[in-house]
């Protein structure tokens, strides 16, 4: 690679090019020592300190990323490889001190040590120049590699600049979390060298470490590099995740479902009260007010049902949210409405959840009407299963009305067990808990009711929630965030709220608002109303956006990675499972399609094949109609383009629900998309 190309317009992508060439020893083409080269070469990371500090413009890096080709495997990460001074949260004075220290250090050390290492040590020693210099030098000695040798060695193999610049990502975090200081990491890398040298080298702490071994590997095995590159890609967000979240309790999102009036809101309201999340004063207020309108039994439900409409009618209409903490988890509950009319809202809630809590009313007659006679117990359970929820707790509520009868409990359990098995829940993943929301029995404390104690020795509801497994978060995939709420935030701009389905979202990231494909920038991120710098897959976040108009964003949109964008289609192929339907599904059947929070009208335009339910083989091609409980491949056309993904690519965005006239007729997985 010609050297004058590097002098000007040096960009990050060039760095990567360089990195690729790195394997076949650079000095053949440019016989320069790295120190010489460093004099002439433009080092983006160094320069930015000088300029970016005053301009506060970090955007240029990201724009370069947008120009990158899509198939480059590491693009989503490149954005985060930069050293971000802002993320260090320094005030102006400190920043100035840091800058001067860095300059001093560079005078001594040259460019051989990565900026990050420098920054870290400076910060560690509170801007004391000599101490940090000592540390850095000592560190290098420890590794049997004295720095001066690097500097003056005439035939060092790699120019340090690219290495430094690619260093960024993992170390930003390192600076944030003093625990994981680079010393440890440096060694780790060395150990890993033998396994997969490719990914590690560019992120290597000091360019000195293990220089020769990766080079040999590179030369010998070009292929492994490709594989390793991908690996690197996956590794990084995980490292970031572990650093950011390693110490915290895991987040768990739980949707509460069940037939209308099963007592979902009351149960959750009571649980929150027992956990101490609701102040005594508020509760007292609710008690008084609910008494006033003659609905005292709704006082706990009011904790979650906040709008006037909901309180007056005594039903939940939109998904309510609240948080509490258990021993090992931070739990967010999504209180779904049980009324049949609000199932679209319930789907929105369930699409964001990891696990579900099914509440059934144990009162004689109530359970039966909720379960057998077209009640929502069945539909909700089927829906959450189709939306990918695998773990379920069943709260047998209001058992006090049948005097904690074991017989009744068993009767309901038996019925539900066989149904849930049919619906596709594994028996091991379903737990049954007897409880009472209104009296608060067996919610957070083991039961005290003697009737219940006689036969029940299992866990209380809170323990069950605590025992849920956290599902795997697809952090390493490109960013997808589904929008389920848009509102005016505090100050300028507006916020969109939703769940990050896959990937990582950083403050300052550029995103693409799809399906309109408008670029926007993330101004700030809030998780549970607390500001945060980064959010990961699985998080429910509010994100304030700039660069796009509030009118042009609506519920159901996807915020996507600007390079690896989400497909926008109006026609796709889907494998559907038909539920109990009154009328068979034919060609041209108009349906409402639910996809995450999006509802859109659609047509089934083609019935492609009828499949065998268990084996999946084709029973009949082009069937005339689809009856109850059949499995089929169909083509669906949506009135307006929407963002979907194939199920095999992104599970979260590959599921659809089909509804007609207020009932769910089918659930589908997207098998193919027609761009």
């Amino acid at each position: 690679m010609a050297r004058h190309r590097n002098v000007r317009n040096r960009s990050y992508s060039d760095d990567y090019d360089y990195d690729d060439v790195y394997g076949h020893s650079v000095e053949e083409e440019s016989c320069l020592s790295p120190s010489d080269a460093a004099q002439w070469m433009y080092d983006p990371s160094r320069n930015r300190h000088a300029i970016a500090h005053f301009m506060e413009g970090r955007d240029d890096i990201q724009e370069e990323v947008e120009n990158e080709t899509i198939d480059s495997p590491h693009t989503p990460l490149e954005r985060r490889e930069s050293i971000d001074l802002r993320s260090l949260n320094l005030d102006e004075d400190d920043e100035a001190k840091l800058m001067s220290c860095l300059d001093e250090l560079r005078n001594v050390l040259g460019d051989t040590i990565s900026d990050n290492t420098l920054i870290q040590s400076v910060l560690k020693h509170h801007f004391d120049f000599t101490k940090s210099l000592d540390e850095i030098l000592n560190k290098n000695k420890k590794k049997d590699f004295t720095k001066p040798t690097i500097q003056f060695e005439p035939i060092t193999h790699v120019t340090p600049a690219p290495i430094i610049s690619t260093d960024g990502a993992p170390k930003i975090i390192a600076t944030l979390e003093p625990k994981s200081l680079n010393v440890v990491k440096g060694f780790k890398v060395e150990q890993n060298n033998k396994l997969s040298s490719g990914p590690n080298t560019p992120r290597d702490q000091s360019p000195a470490t293990g220089r020769s071994s990766p080079r040999l590997q590179h030369q010998s095995n070009e292929e492994s590099k490709v594989v390793a590159k991908q690996k690197e890609n996956k590794l990084d967000p995980k490292v970031q995740y572990n650093n950011e979240r390693g110490t915290e309790k895991d987040h768990l999102y739980i949707v509460v479902i069940g037939h209308v009036d099963a007592g979902k809101s009351t149960l959750m309201g009571r649980l929150l009260c027992e956990m101490g999340e609701v102040s005594q004063r508020t509760l007292h207020k609710y008690e008084q007010e609910s008494k006033k309108i003659g609905k005292q039994s709704f006082m706990y439900a009011w904790v979650l049902d906040e709008t006037g409409e909901e309180r007056v009618r005594g039903i939940t209409m939109d998904v309510g949210r609240a948080q509490f903490e258990t021993k090992t988890k931070r739990v967010t509950i999504l209180d779904a409405p049980g009324h049949a009319d609000f199932i679209p809202n319930m789907i929105t809630g369930a699409a964001q959840a990891d696990v579900a809590l099914l509440v059934v009313d144990a009162t004689r007659g109530e359970f039966e009407s909720g379960f057998d006679l077209g009640g929502q117990t069945r539909e909700h359970a089927l829906l959450v299963r189709s939306l990918g929820v695998g773990q379920l707790a069943v709260a047998i509520n209001k058992l006090d009305t049948s005097n904690w009868s074991e017989e009744r409990f068993n009767e309901i359990t038996k019925k539900l067990k066989s149904f849930l098995k049919q619906a596709g829940f594994k028996e091991a993943d379903v737990t049954f808990v007897p409880c009472s929301g209104l009296t608060g029995e067996n919610l957070v404390k083991p039961p005290s009711e003697s009737e219940l104690l006689k036969w029940y020795s299992g866990p209380c509801l809170l323990d069950v929630v605590d025992k849920f497994n956290i599902p795997e978060r697809p952090i390493s995939k490109p960013l997808r965030m589904s929008v389920n709420n848009i509102f005016k935030g505090i100050g300028s701009g507006f916020c969109v709220a939703g769940r990050i389905e896959t990937g990582v979202l950083n403050k300052g990231d550029k995103v693409l608002v799809c399906p309109t494909k408008e670029p926007a920038e993330v101004r700030s991120i809030f998780i549970n109303d607390l500001p945060s710098n980064v959010a990961f897959a699985g998080d429910q976040t509010s994100v304030s956006l700039s660069g796009v108009d509030m009118q042009n964003v609506s519920v159901g949109f996807i915020l996507s990675d600007p390079v690896l964008t989400v497909p926008v289609v109006s026609r796709f192929e889907s494998r559907i499972v038909v539920f109990n339907v009154k009328a068979p599904i034919t060609k041209g059947y108009p349906v409402l399609i639910h996809h995450q929070s999006l509802v859109e009208s659609a047509n089934i335009i083609k019935l492609k094949a009828l499949l065998n339910k268990s084996t999946g083989e084709v029973l009949k091609k082009k069937p005339r109609c689809l009856g109850n409980n059949s499995v089929a491949v169909v083509d669906i056309e949506v009135c307006r383009p929407i963002c979907v993904e194939k199920y095999k690519d992104v599970k979260e965005l590959g599921r659809v629900m089909l509804r007609v006239a207020g009932t769910t007729i089918a659930a589908g997985l997207i098998t193919d998309i027609y761009p």
Partner: protein, 426 residues
């Protein structure tokens, strides 16, 4: 529509004089007129007259033109029908050209009356004594806009049974009941007008309403009010209370009740007499969503049925529902797709034939003939034929379902086995 005269020969050719009286009639006319028919109607045309001194003036005159229809264009929202074709009959403005020159040559300069470039040519022709007065040329293109309350005469080479039936239904004065319907859900509403053979979406309201969040209920309620206001404006703007029999408000949950309450409150606040006086015309019904096709559910609601009974819309929905029921219970007695239905008809098995009027509007005369023959033969065999309006939601669905479907008298499982449905239209 008013029928003025009807003169049809034994062989089926002949002409009919009609006066459209309401926008709806334009839809009927659209379905009646096919390419190749000739239509006589009064229209405004710019003509050029030439004085003896040679100066030419152009002015607009109302005249009666007869054109041979080549292109039909129907604007569903404005209910305007435009027919494009060539003049075929002479009158005081329309003149055959001098025979000395080939017509096509002259036409190429002259028929475009908007263009000034041919002035020198005119002078030339005049000077060479070829033409004394230029007006509209025979064979010149003209676009007829059919107008309300102005008579037009339609001449066809063949008046088939379907076309004659269409004339009959169009001229039946009984079936005129307009209904306005608003289907809505939080953030989405369609204001529709349902006439006997059309469903027109007058306005679509799509507003994002912030959801309720802990401690931020106001934004939700503010958004909701904004939405209700937009729907109310939509109703005021598009619903003519002097015509519609009733206004149906349909939604899941309590949106309709909340909206109705809001609207009446606003009406009282702003002293809107129109709304207050017509309060009794509103009918609240349940629907599963705010999308257009949930109108189907609305029309099946008993309360609505009672009000608008006998409109085509409601009966079509019911019929289609029957078809689906049959498909569910006895799949061997319900078939769709042209090939299956024709086969069933050959066995004289068709009890009810449902066919979309789109099939008769097709350009292909041969295909139209086939469908007409099918309809006639079903009738002959004692079956019932329903021609669905493709402007209704049920008709839209039938269109998607190949446009033709039938309920049979007796099961024909052998049809089901005959695989390879003729390939799809898309």
């Amino acid at each position: 529509m008013k029928l003025l005269f009807k003169s049809i020969e034994k062989d089926g050719c002949g002409s009919i004089g009609l006066v459209p009286e309401e926008p709806e009639d334009m839809w009927h006319a659209y379905n009646l007129i096919a390419e190749g028919d000739s239509v006589t109607a009064s229209t405004v045309r710019k003509v050029q007259t030439e004085s003896s001194t040679g100066s030419s003036t152009s002015n607009r005159v109302r005249t009666v033109l007869t054109i041979n229809v080549e292109n039909i264009d129907f604007d569903t929202q404005a209910c305007v029908l435009r027919l494009k074709g060539r003049n075929i009959v002479e009158n005081q403005y329309v003149k055959e050209l001098d025979a000395h020159l080939p017509i096509s040559f002259l036409q190429s300069f002259l028929w475009d009356d908007e263009c000034d470039l041919h002035r020198p040519m005119l002078a030339f022709f005049r000077a060479t004594n070829l033409i004394q007065t230029i007006s509209v040329q025979m064979g010149a293109y003209h676009t007829l806009d059919l107008e309300l309350n102005r008579k037009f005469t339609l001449k066809k080479v063949l008046w088939d049974s379907v076309a004659l039936e269409r004339v009959e239904t169009a001229c039946d004065p009984a079936a005129t009941a307009d209904v306005a319907a608003v289907v809505m859900q939080e953030g989405l509403a369609h204001v529709c007008l349902i006439t006997p053979s059309m469903t027109l979406v007058r306005s679509k309201i799509d507003i994002t309403i912030p959801r309720k969040r802990k401690g931020f209920v106001q934004q939700h309620e503010k958004g909701l009010n904004k939405f209700y206001d937009a729907v109310m404006q939509g109703i005021l703007r598009h619903v003519d209370f002097s015509i519609v029999k009733c206004v149906i408000l349909a939604s899941p949950g309590f949106v309709k009740d909340q909206f109705f309450e809001y609207m009446i409150q606003q009406a009282i606040k702003t002293d809107n007499k129109l709304l207050i006086d017509n309060k009794g015309k509103f009918l609240l019904v349940k629907a599963s969503s705010g999308f257009k096709h949930s109108l189907k559910e609305v029309l099946q609601e008993p309360a609505v049925m009672a009000k608008i009974s006998d409109t085509k819309a409601a009966s079509e929905v019911k019929l289609l529902e029957n078809f689906y029921m049959m498909l569910q219970l006895e799949p061997a007695k319900a078939f769709y797709g042209k090939r299956h239905v024709i086969k069933a008809n050959e066995a004289q098995a068709v009890e009810t034939l449902m066919i979309s009027d789109k099939q008769f509007r097709c350009q292909d005369i041969q295909q139209r003939k086939e469908y007409v023959a099918l309809v006639d033969s079903v009738r002959e065999n004692g079956g019932e034929v329903k021609i669905f309006s493709s402007m209704h939601v049920s008709g839209e669905q039938l269109d998607q379902l190949t446009g033709i479907a039938a309920i049979l008298r007796f099961p024909m499982p052998e049809l089901e086995d005959s695989e390879e449905e003729d390939s799809d239209t898309d």
